[in-house]
């Protein structure tokens, strides 16, 4: 599994305050906590806290002063991504492109040039996908464009777009079906990722819904998620799902072995 820590996001009050008051310590606290919890990447998102590219760079540099965990550059603005990618010490993930041609034409070459990975959201100008076929069609578009322009399957993360279970209940299962079909795109397949927390938005059993949904997605072929990496039970459930699917070799201390082997 590839776990991307979601917590450094201007949508959270403490991060928003950190950006506005230029207080590195809060950002660095979350960089450390999430890395220790097992994050393979740290998502950095400014949210609505600022619209200055300098603030975004400041956030990334604050993270990189504390940990060696690679960055997931979370922005939909090309200029922000282009500036941010230059200061990343390790090959980052660009989060994200949509399936729109002009977006793909802009972002794929940036990823290729910097040896970065790219998350492709299965949506376009027309909006969010409504069923399995739309997701698969948009995913295939992103995948083939990315391959044509020089990314390897290992650098492509397809995101079938998670929607809240509480408000759009049928979409959860459509997403799982789309994951299953993404695995057939190539051999080896691209990475498949979800932004997990969306599934439980405004619901009462958030952690339980997150966990069960993630397990079902992994069974269908998903291998990456942006999530609350400090939810230990969530990560251990994901690791256990992969053990049950025979992706790693069992031993009585398999959780410890998995976590040790991922430590930087």
């Amino acid at each position: 599994m590839i776990f991307i820590g979601e917590r450094i996001n201007g949508g959270f009050k403490d991060i928003k305050r950190a950006i506005q008051e230029k207080d590195k310590s809060i950002i660095q606290h979350w960089a450390k906590i999430q890395t220790e919890a097992g994050a393979d990447y740290l998502d950095v998102n400014m949210g609505a806290a600022s619209n200055k590219v300098d603030d975004f760079i400041w956030m990334i540099e604050a993270v990189q002063e504390t940990v060696e965990t690679p960055i997931s550059i979370d922005s939909n603005k090309l200029a922000f991504i282009e500036s941010a990618i230059k200061v990343c010490k390790h090959p980052p993930i660009i989060n994200s492109t949509t399936a729109d041609k002009e977006k793909l034409d802009q972002l794929i070459p940036v990823a290729v040039e910097h040896n970065a990975s790219l998350i492709g959201l299965c949506m376009d100008k027309k909006g969010a996908p409504q069923d399995v076929n739309q997701r698969v069609e948009l995913g295939a578009t992103i995948f083939s464009e990315a391959i044509d322009k020089g990314l390897s399957p290992d650098q492509i993360f397809l995101d079938p777009v998670t929607m809240p279970l509480k408000f759009l209940q049928p979409q959860a299962y459509h997403l799982i079906e789309a994951v299953r079909q993404f695995t057939l795109l190539s051999s080896p397949p691209p990475h498949i990722i979800v932004g997990l927390s969306n599934i439980s938005s405004k619901a009462s059993e958030m952690k339980l819904i997150n966990r069960v949904f993630l397990i079902m997605c992994i069974e269908a072929g998903l291998d990456a998620t942006i999530c609350d990496v400090t939810d230990e039970e969530l990560l251990n459930s994901a690791i256990t799902t992969e053990i049950i699917l025979n992706k790693h070799i069992y031993s009585d201390s398999y959780i410890k072995a998995y976590r040790e082997s991922r430590r930087k």
Binding site: H248, I249, Y250, S251, D252, S253, Y254, K256, A257, E260, S261
Partner: protein, 322 residues
Amino acid sequence: MNIPDVKQSWPNPINEVTIGATKEEGGTRSTTITIGGTGTLPFLSFEGSSPHRPVIAMEVWDFAPADWPEELEKYFSDVWDDPGKWAKKCVDEFNADLICLRLQGCDPDGENKSSAEAAEAVKKVLEAVTVPLIIWGCGNKEKNNEILPVCSQTAAGERCLLGTITEDNYKTLVALCKADKHKLIAESPVDINIAKQVNILAADIGLAAEDIVIYPSTGSLGYGIEYVYSIMERGRIAGLSGDKMWAMPLLADIGKEVWKVKEAVATEEEVPGWGNHVQRGPLWEAITALVYLQSGSDIIIMRHPKAVGELKKYINSLINKN
């Protein structure tokens, strides 16, 4: 016709382990041996690099074995009352890459030799030859915990490969290896999960993964070889794919297994139709060994000089061809 490219790329090379220490490194060996380091499955040089060739250790005991068949006796009976002479013959006449001293004489159900006697055997071998040394206990856990500390100290700084640790007996040996700078053999009973678990347990109390060689148990040709093969292959694939607790070199203990099966030792008079045992015995050992080579073994422990010679030729032919 286009032939599809079947090359795979593996993210995680197998650990390198160096056995033996020269004078400059604090030992007395004239050479050291490094195994592992491969970034692909065995002998697939088109796919990735394998910087170190597999090596053959010849087996020496700390007393004259009573149960070795005549076919082995005729090569070793002139020297097997002295482990030093025995080791020297293996190196000088049969080109052993290293020596595996098995302290079988310390088995409480047999000769029950003392730890002082075991240490004496270690000393003799170290003085008689300058190749690196494997020191293998007697098979009894409690006794191993008595004799191996003394042997480890006798060979301190020589960077020997000591064995074996198991899932329920590893603490003493791990401590010794860290103190005296040796490497360790981690043994498991043909079980891929336990093989991993022993490594995790040893790593947990501070042994570096780079100090471990995996011994997943060995079966002779005709006696479960397919099962061991599949475990070694699957473990190696896991190691190459990124499982750090399976990314260790592998050891196969061939001679001990082969020279107790009837297919290797029975004479033609006993089993008409099986052919001359003088040829069949070493052939059985050589074929068993080459199966283990193909499953990823980095160290092969053997007994019969002719089988050793054949396996060396085979390794050369695979490496030179590539």
